[in-house]
Symmetry: C2
Amino acid sequence: MSLIVHKYGGTSMGSVERIRNVAKRVAKWQRAGHQMIVVPSAMSGETNRLLGLAKEITDRPNPRELDQIAATGEQVSVGLLALALQAEGLDAISFCGWQVPIKTDAAHTKARIESIDRTAVQAHLDAGRVVVITGFQGVSPEGAVATLGRGGSDTSAVAIAAAFDAAECLIYTDVDGVYTTDPRVVADARRLSRITFEEMLEMASLGSKVLQIRSVEFAGKYKVKTRVLSSLTDPLMDLNDEAQSGTLITYEEDPSMEQAVISGIAFNRDEAKITIAGVPDKPGVAYKILGPVAAANVDVDVIIQNASHDGTTDFSFTVHRNELAKALEVIQTKVQPEIHAREITSDNQIAKVSVVGIGMKSHVGVASQMFQTLADEGINIQMISTSEIKISVVIADKYMELAVRALHKAFGLES
Amino acid sequence: MSLIVHKYGGTSMGSVERIRNVAKRVAKWQRAGHQMIVVPSAMSGETNRLLGLAKEITDRPNPRELDQIAATGEQVSVGLLALALQAEGLDAISFCGWQVPIKTDAAHTKARIESIDRTAVQAHLDAGRVVVITGFQGVSPEGAVATLGRGGSDTSAVAIAAAFDAAECLIYTDVDGVYTTDPRVVADARRLSRITFEEMLEMASLGSKVLQIRSVEFAGKYKVKTRVLSSLTDPLMDLNDEAQSGTLITYEEDPSMEQAVISGIAFNRDEAKITIAGVPDKPGVAYKILGPVAAANVDVDVIIQNASHDGTTDFSFTVHRNELAKALEVIQTKVQPEIHAREITSDNQIAKVSVVGIGMKSHVGVASQMFQTLADEGINIQMISTSEIKISVVIADKYMELAVRALHKAFGLES
């Protein structure tokens, strides 16, 4: 008898009728002989409603109280789902984070899980009960309700699967898996039957937003077999037939599979670029530029510094488009008086396109193939950055779809 | 520096604007030098919405899960009120029942408070914080959320006031106190500036529904000075000037006051009467009749058994009108085959009218004055029942208003 964790998003929990459907699916899994833990999100819209109330009271709500309020959406969900499971004839019981307890740090609204106590929940599982546990929340060292931030229920589900040595963690969502790229851009994008968690991390952080990124880190760190699949999927499936459904996020490369060099193409047009040209090339200049930007709470993504000539260098970085104005102001008022650069320019008509693949580690030539493909399409590359399993380029955003389609084809990712 | 508990009902918490008004009032009390604990109800309509969701899932929801769901309304309220207090410049923190902890028994949906731990809350009070605690809920011996039932926030407030030795517990509501009778029936009904908790118990259970009855029992048992007053009342008041606002429920008779014989006239037209005539007058017959009724979960109020003649007696009792059909069915199918009574009749056109007053203890003649007043108005009395501080009569409901007005005048209760 294996333990399985199911996680359901807000859409799956969006109405009484849908909650009944979730209960029916869980019932089939339980009756097939699995021990079941279910982690539901708040009903769709509920978290926004609650945060909206708090925002009406004050623009800058205290994070502890915000968590006290926001966590109730998941509490309602576990109660309703337990009732629906009971109505299906199952023995079921709900737990809030503090009841398990799921202990977190004190970083309200973005808390991290520190430990999960198995004792109480295990006793109910052993007694044949389906245990329904709130996503998104835990209890802080001070005994306050702490939430994990947006999408935190994914992380809850994976962390619970890790704590209970679950055979698999199934994340039911509104897509049926992870694709080689966005099917809205490339019609013949292909569903990946498996992806390593490292690739998934690069895909997720680059814009193929399927799972909360911290849940993927958790899956990797604690070696949790995590599967993303559609909530419209058949109620029960053979977990050994991995091609059957969704995308399995694995913690190891599978030597039995012919490993593709590239798993997917990610892209992102939410960024803007700032270039500071003619910066005196002295030690500490990168810190002089980015220190004030970070102090203003502006997140920086790609950072490029070119080799210098004539004792000066060009320094470029990207920020979220919404933060371009703020970043530019910091550069002009706090940085430029210190560094006396020749010119400061910005561009918000950019896109970032990345090829991601664990196979890249052992294959040379991915970068050159990528650059050649873009050159063949007449697409100019403005910035390049690389990691072990990813190569990203910044290009003019009007070429983004063209670049994605060309790369998808060049790396043979079609169905 | 004295500790004051404020309790606010769902109407006072009904919108962001109203929550801000509550925060403004609490701020004035705090700045006047009081330590403050505030117990808010769920926003009006919220508990019904939550119970409605559960009811949609199943007609017979599991009580533990129902509590898990229903308790979230108060959790949202404490968070929002803490935010509003902070926006007023106060240091404030919210607590759920389990965080205090407020320990209850395991009787979900109608749990009783067993203990309240002062430690954590007291530390925050001592640090100058306003502490906002959920009404309506606590934590069961199994660590589950348990609710106290409808109106339970009144009980929470009084129990918290008792645990913290509060100088006074102020229950803000939509009436400005307890009246000699319902002002909608008797125009010159008078607000009582004080009432003993025993009188309040009789008034509350007889239909002058201002406070949850268990909160009054608590106030009496633990000698908590509890005041019912309007949420439209002036923000701050002199607690020593007790005539100033609301009605103070005291645990002692005040020898300094000229004690009225009668405090008020209560009434109730929610009941129906069943009479079983010609019951063999044998030991155990009352149990034979009421045992099956109680087993069917039908609450019985007034019970009358007359002296017997010819070896038989007449037995009458009242039940809630909504339960008359159920009670009659029990009597006809389960009781009558055992007792072979001569006749079973019922009447749902009745009303109960009661005079209540602690002064009745030492004054003879209240009953005769009551009966004479009704006789003068030509009102026939169908049933009579008495306690130490109350006399109730059942009459035809068409005479109810007439009876209440006549008694109010006869006992000199006008303003």
